[in-house]
């Protein structure tokens, strides 16, 4: 997993899956990278093959962190299964989905 950070934005790259196996680790790693000035957390999910409920829990937790500093979480280029899970759980309304 890689991070690209600017003063207002942080980009997370290289996640292959977000499940119970790594959800807690991802959450902790990303949280440590967030700075008070960050307004946007972009997570590139173009390579994610599996996103389970634990992974969703991580995304929600990160969303809460960003909300506390008036920021947001954006899911970048999600794979179909990621988009499907987000829609099924209606979290697509909470987490902004963007494509580039």
């Amino acid at each position: 997993m890689d991070f690209e950070s600017t003063s207002e934005r942080i980009l997370v790259l290289g996640i292959k899956e977000l499940t119970s196996a790594n959800a807690a680790a991802v959450k902790d790693d990303v949280r440590r990278c967030i700075r008070p000035g960050h307004r946007a957390l972009d997570i590139d999910m173009s390579d994610v093959r599996i996103l389970d409920s634990s992974g969703l829990g991580t995304l929600i937790a990160l969303h809460k962190v960003m909300c506390q500093q008036n920021g947001l979480v954006r899911i970048m280029n999600p794979t179909p299964i990621v988009e499907q899970v987000l829609e099924l759980t209606r979290l697509h309304r909470l987490l902004e989905i963007t494509r580039q």
């Binding site: 196996a21 093959r49 599996i50 389970d52 991580t58 929600i60």
Partner: protein, 599 residues
């Protein structure tokens, strides 16, 4: 039918989230290999992951303080995919309609996600293990569906071919078994036949054995009569199956199955539901759905026809059953022929015995002793080409005057028994007409009158020659009815052999024949030869396999006339000439009489 072999996958791993990554990836790769796209594989990955998460979350330790392993089982079916996740937890109640937690909740979505990603799910709790069942209908891309359909069709074709092979093997097995059955039955009954020899009851028992083997409800076995145009019932399974004799000519072959089968010399199988029997067909009595008719032919000879009916089966007779029917019919036909030939042999033996008796009787009618006539010797012989003969000769002495002798020789047209009967009648008539001995032409005329009707009634005739010899007065009166001439010569070498054949038609040809009577002088040292045509028509090696002929016979007579011997010596010489025949079997009877004056 064969069971379809469908793809499946099984993996077991430690109850640990890190240990679950690779197995789940392998499940997804397995599905991808079977044509599932990335989204479907991902959905299955998520659903399975959620199931595994629950198993890990609620896992228990075994007696060794080690968590029980988790197993994933995947089965790909034509219309759906089923995944089982086996866990060893206390389990939990599977919610029927789980709801989503609030958006801010970081957990509690697992079961909801599972139920949204699959079409059907259930959680079965057991004593020691539980099973999460996930099922999702397949939605293959159209090109893959086409490909799958193609392979599925091909698989069905192969399965169909395998089924056909199975059937063929079963049929062969059944056929072999049937052959064994039929051979066994035949050997068993063959042994019985040898003991009892009753062919009719043997046929009944043998064919009754055929009914259960054929799954039949009746049989009818009919044999051809001697002239071969009519079949008559020989054996049947019930009295209701005993039809009248049937002519199997071409006209009947158009209407009746048995006649048709014999005429075309082939089996006929009739489904009477599809094609009813014609009115009057004897096989209607079967009252059967299927009727099999088999013509029985040995060599070129039509022996008969065997018909079998089946009313209970919905299927026609199998090839194995038909083979058994053929085997039984052929075997039975051979037995019938054997019995018939045995009867013929017995009958032939009887006839041979009767012919031997007839031969003895006929031989007893011929002169066996030659009474002394002073100064003369007489000899005669009748060689027959069969047991009994149509040739005949007789030497009759005057009752009071031993110098008067009647020489009679005759040849009935034809050979064998009919000819011998007329020869016997001829002899009796001659013997009973002593008053006419001195007048051979009158005697011959009387013989014709007596026998004309009988002979002409059967288109037969007799050639005969009668010579009345008055040896004291040295005269001879001859009458001839179409017979070979009498040869006469003398010991005197200057006297040629003369042949004497007065005019006269054979007996039985015309009602009142003109019969000439010839009187000739008997020279001193006379030699007389009377003979039938079998003598001159024999072929002899002494003359190069040509007919002996009258000319050569005359030459022989001329050569031997001067020999100072008795008639028996002349007989031996003539027989030596005749024995040189080139054939063992005489073509015609050979008969002759010799009268020889001594000195």
């Amino acid at each position: 039918m064969r069971r379809e072999v469908l793809p499946s996958f099984f993996v077991q791993f430690e109850c640990d989230v890190d240990a679950s990554i690779t197995p789940i990836a392998r499940v997804m790769a397995f599905l991808e290999n079977y044509g599932f796209d990335q989204t479907e594989c991902g959905a299955w990955g998520v659903a399975i992951q959620e199931g595994v998460n629950n198993a890990i979350l609620h896992c228990e330790l075994d007696e060794n303080e080690t968590p029980h392993p988790i197993a994933i089982e995947v089965m790909v079916r034509p219309d759906y995919v089923e995944v089982l996740v086996h866990d060893h937890t206390q389990g939990f109640s599977w919610p029927i309609s789980p709801s989503l937690p609030s958006e801010s909740s970081e957990d509690g979505r697992g079961v909801y996600i599972i139920q949204q990603l699959v079409d059907d799910s259930d959680y079965l709790r057991g004593t020691h293990s539980n099973r999460l069942i996930l099922r999702k209908n397949r939605t293959l891309p159209s090109e893959l569906k086409e490909e799958e359909k193609k392979w599925r069709d091909r698989l069905k074709t192969i399965e169909s071919q395998l089924d056909e092979t199975d059937k063929a093997l079963n049929s062969t097995q059944e056929e072999l078994f049937s052959c064994y059955e039929s051979l066994s039955a035949i050997f068993q009954f063959g042994t019985e036949l040898g003991k009892q020899g009753d062919i009719k009851s043997f046929a009944d028992r043998l064919l009754k054995q055929l009914i259960p083997i054929m799954g039949a409800n009746g049989y009818l076995f009919r044999t051809c009569d001697e002239n071969g145009s009519i079949i008559r019932t020989y054996s049947h399974s019930s009295d209701s199956l005993d039809p009248s004799p049937l002519n199997w000519n071409a006209d009947n072959a158009k209407h009746f199955l048995e006649s048709k089968s014999i005429v075309i010399r082939k089996d006929i199988l009739r489904d009477t539901d599809l094609e009813k029997l014609e009115e009057g067909d004897p096989l209607i009595a079967f009252n059967s759905k299927f009727i099999q008719v088999h013509p029985i032919i040995i060599g070129e000879e039509m022996i008969g026809v065997l018909s079998v009916g089946s009313s209970e089966s919905e299927e026609p007779f199998t090839s194995a059953q038909t083979n058994v029917m053929h085997t039984f019919a052929h075997f039975l036909a051979l037995q019938l022929i054997n019995v018939s030939r045995q009867e013929e042999r017995i009958e032939f033996g009887k006839i041979s015995k009767e012919l031997e008796i007839a031969q003895d009787i006929q031989a007893s009618l011929l002169p066996s002793k030659w009474p002394e006539v002073e100064g003369y010797t007489i000899a005669g012989k009748c060689n027959t080409s069969r047991n009994v003969s149509g040739d005949f000769f007789d030497v009759i002495y005057h009752e009071t005057d031993p110098d008067k002798v009647l020489l009679v020789i005759a040849d009935v047209m034809g050979k064998g028994v009919p000819a011998s009967i007329f020869a016997a009648i001829f002899r009796s008539l001659v013997r009973s007409s002593t008053e006419l001995f001195e007048h051979p032409a009158e005697l011959m005329s009387k013989l014709n009158r007596s026998m004309f009707q009988d002979l002409s009634g059967v288109d037969m005739f007799i050639t005969a020659q009668i010579a009345y010899c008055d040896l004291r007065h040295r005269t001879m009166r001859i009458s001839n009815a179409g017979h070979c001439p009498l040869l006469l010569t003398s010991k005197d070498e200057t006297m040629p052999v003369t042949s004497h054949s007065p005019e006269g038609l054979p007996l039985g040809v015309v009602k009142r024949p003109e019969l000439e009577e010839l009187e000739i002088d008997v020279p001193k040292g006379v030699r007389v030869l009377m003979y039938t045509d079998g003598i001159v028509e024999t072929t002899t090696q002494m003359v190069g396999n040509e007919l002996l002929g009258q000319k050569r016979l005359v030459h022989w007579f001329q050569d031997v006339r001067s020999v100072d011997q008795k008639a028996s010596a002349f007989q031996s010489s003539l027989e030596k000439l005749l024995r040189a025949t080139s054939e063992d079997q005489l073509k015609d009877d050979q008969t002759f009489i010799l009268l020889v004056e001594n000195g």
